[in-house]
């Protein structure tokens, strides 16, 4: 059964839902436009000696045309994209101008007496193969650029016309889109891109994000299922594409689009601005995340990275521990999706009950077998997780963090296991980031007191206020009777935080916070003033926290912190901070 017959027989009005990889955020509702690019046909032909020069001439012309096309795309890209994306086209132009490469190709045409297409395909193919085989991610990607250039030359050799103009607005559906296609097509009213192949770091994905065009890649079969003008909905947040959506479906997605627009409005303009105070103190503003089907792109857009990835999410609701391969796949996806932003993965922070096969319940799990204690007692599982994290670190944007550390020995044991994992991977020739940064959570008070010693052996500290405050004030947040005693602004907590930050910085490590307090607008100025280097907050609060950081002077925040440190009650501190927030940021809601 041929393709066209298959399309004609498929029920025209049936709603079909497809799932792909969310590549660029946004929701598009509109008609499809199928973009077909025929793969260049490579024929091997022998040519007579007198015809060889003609082949050389054909190739020279094809190269000249390709240069012209790429320069046009490059110029257009410069107006629409930032530097780092434009580099893709710079690299492609450089390949086209590689005299050594083309001299070799011309020489081969003349000596082997074959047609230009064949020699071009073969000679450049050698380089592509070597690059694809490389373990270096970067080089592996460049292979696609070289392939794009080769295809462009071959197309021009065959004098294929390029369609890059559409009428009206459309969702472009294609088997694949090269970097050039993605950019040049965007001159039209493109609502979204949807492709069969491609990953989250493919050119289509990266460029779509830069062009702010929603996109879903890796849909596998969409180019076969769609015809021009077919009604579609594309959700770049979740990777869902709906063909022939019902009225109801359209309404649902239109509503979702509205909700995200509102979030964008709050973020308005802040998204690409750094978390920097008025007097230029730059702090890191990251997001706390779990693994969701929808990696909340839009929310994490305004962040510098993920400051806390709760890996135990991978265990929730499962009967068994995830295998190293399963973990590696998730961590890798995370690293790729966030690249070049950093992701800090916290190793499994679970209660012992997750591992206990019998129903031996602890009397006091909060003070019991949890966090790093569990993992150190199960070194095989710990090693698997560390291996998976290391394997996912090849893009050099992953850091690891250990939970519930209470003494230095635990850190040393954990680091030893990490070294073991590295050694194993090295032996097996599996690449990883040898300089992956290691940090610890400061949530147990003892860790806070020995923060200096810990800081000497790790790269950063992250304060987990949720548990720290509970341990420090002897309060169970979940206990209604005493929950009001859980106080972020208790003087003891503030002074404790000050000491942790001082101690860490004394030893040259950065100190961040991933507890809820980091995302509490009332605490932002205080935390800034105490010298906190990194705020990792719940994604929804990113706009507000950034606004506050950008709206104060660090010197001012320091003075405010000094004053707060002298106060003796929680009420005094809260009232003081409330009055400041009311004056400076009246629009930001606070408790």
């Amino acid at each position: 059964m041929t393709e066209s017959r298959a399309k004609a027989e498929s029920p025209q009005s049936q709603e079909t839902v497809l799932k792909g990889i969310p590549a660029s955020p946004g929701i598009a509702i509109g008609p499809a436009f199928v973009f077909m690019r025929h793969a260049p046909i490579i024929e091997e032909r022998s040519v007579l000696p007198e015809e060889a020069e003609r082949e050389v001439g054909r190739l020279e012309q094809a190269i000249a045309r390709s240069l012209k096309e790429l320069r046009k795309i490059f110029e257009f890209a410069e107006t629409k994209l930032r530097d780092d994306k434009v580099k893709i086209f710079e690299a492609q132009l450089m390949f086209l101008e590689d005299a050594v490469l083309f001299d070799a190709i011309y020489a081969r045409i003349r000596s082997e007496l074959k047609n230009a297409e064949f020699i071009v395909h073969d000679e450049i193919g050698k380089y592509i193969r070597i690059m694809l085989a490389s373990k270096d991610e970067y080089t592996h990607e460049r292979a696609h650029d070289v392939e794009d250039v080769r295809n462009r030359i071959l197309r021009n050799l065959q004098e294929q016309r390029v369609i890059s103009r559409l009428e009206g607005s459309a969702i472009i559906v294609s088997q694949n889109l090269s970097a050039g296609d993605t950019v040049i097509l965007s001159r039209n009213d493109v609502l979204a891109y949807a492709t069969d192949i491609g990953g989250i770091t493919s050119h289509t994905a990266l460029l779509s994000r830069a062009l702010k065009i929603p996109a879903v890649v890796g849909l596998k079969t969409i180019s076969h299922l769609v015809h021009d003008a077919l009604s579609m909905v594309l959700d770049g947040y979740s990777g869902t594409v709906v063909l022939n959506p019902t009225e109801e479906t359209i309404k649902k997605y239109a509503a979702k689009r509205e909700r995200y627009h509102q979030f964008e409005a709050r973020l308005a303009g802040l998204r690409d601005l750094p978390a920097e105070t008025l007097d230029h103190r730059r702090v890191e503003l990251s997001a706390n995340a779990e693994f969701e089907q929808e990696l909340d792109f839009i929310k994490i857009q305004g962040a510098d990275g993920i400051g806390l990835f709760r890996s135990e999410y991978l265990i929730v609701g499962k009967e068994e521990f995830p295998t190293e391969e399963e973990q590696f796949a998730q961590y890798k996806l995370l690293a790729e999706a966030m690249y070049p932003k950093r992701v800090i993965i916290r190793t499994f922070d679970i209660g012992g009950d997750k591992l206990m096969t019998d129903s031996a319940k602890e009397n006091n799990p909060f003070l019991g077998w949890r966090g790093i204690r569990v993992m150190l007692d199960r070194p095989i599982l710990f090693l698997e997780q560390l291996r998976a994290i290391l394997r996912a670190s090849t893009r050099k944007n992953i850091a690891v963090m250990f939970p519930m550390v209470s003494n230095l020995k635990e850190v040393r044991l954990a680091r030893k296991l990490l070294d073991q994992a590295k050694h194993q991977l090295r032996k097996d020739g599996i690449p990883y980031d040898s300089r992956m940064k290691v940090g610890v959570m400061i949530e147990v008070p003892s860790a806070a007191i020995i923060a200096e010693d810990l800081a000497e052996e790790v790269d950063f500290l992250s304060i987990g206020t949720n548990d720290l405050i509970q341990y420090l004030l002897a309060v169970d947040r979940g206990n209604d009777v005493v929950s009001n005693l859980y106080q972020e602004f208790n003087p003891a907590v503030v002074r404790f935080l000050r000491r942790i930050i001082e101690r860490g910085k004394k030893k040259g490590v950065w100190v961040g916070m991933c507890g809820e307090m980091a995302g509490d607008p009332l605490a932002t100025i205080l935390l800034l003033g105490l010298g906190l280097d990194e705020f990792s907050v719940v994604p929804n609060m990113l706009p507000e926290i950034k606004k506050i950081i950008r709206g104060v002077k660090f010197s001012e925040a320091q003075k405010i912190a000094e004053q707060v440190l002298r106060m003796k009650t929680e009420d005094e501190i809260k009232e003081f901070l409330r009055s400041i927030m009311k004056k400076k940021f009246p629009d930001i809601p606070i408790n």
């Binding site: 450089m94 590689d98 490469l101 970067y138 080089t139 050099k396």
Partner: protein, 88 residues
């Protein structure tokens, strides 16, 4: 012919920008220029050749120059690489 060993200093390795700088500099000299890494030798004046080296930070390259200005070429190119291509 002269030969020199260098190591890649910059963090991201020999990616597009430094590769381009390397090729551009090499082109200003008349001498032939080859780079060897892990037993594979490529023409140092070819950007696509340099890119296939996939030279990451810390890797060792052997540079080979032959021609009238081989000494100057070797010094200039080696220095550029040792300087980490002036990247931060």
């Amino acid at each position: 012919m002269i030969q020199r060993e260098v190591s890649i200093k910059n963090r991201a390795g020999l990616h597009t920008r430094p590769a381009a700088a390397l090729v551009k500099l090499a082109a200003t000299f008349k001498s032939e220029f080859f780079i060897e890494k892990d037993g594979i030798e490529i023409n140092g004046k070819s950007i696509i050749g340099v890119m296939t080296l996939a030279a990451e930070q810390g890797s060792t390259l052997t540079l080979r120059f032959s021609g009238v200005d081989e000494v100057e070429a070797c010094d200039a190119v080696a220095e550029l690489i040792e300087r980490g291509f002036d990247e931060k």
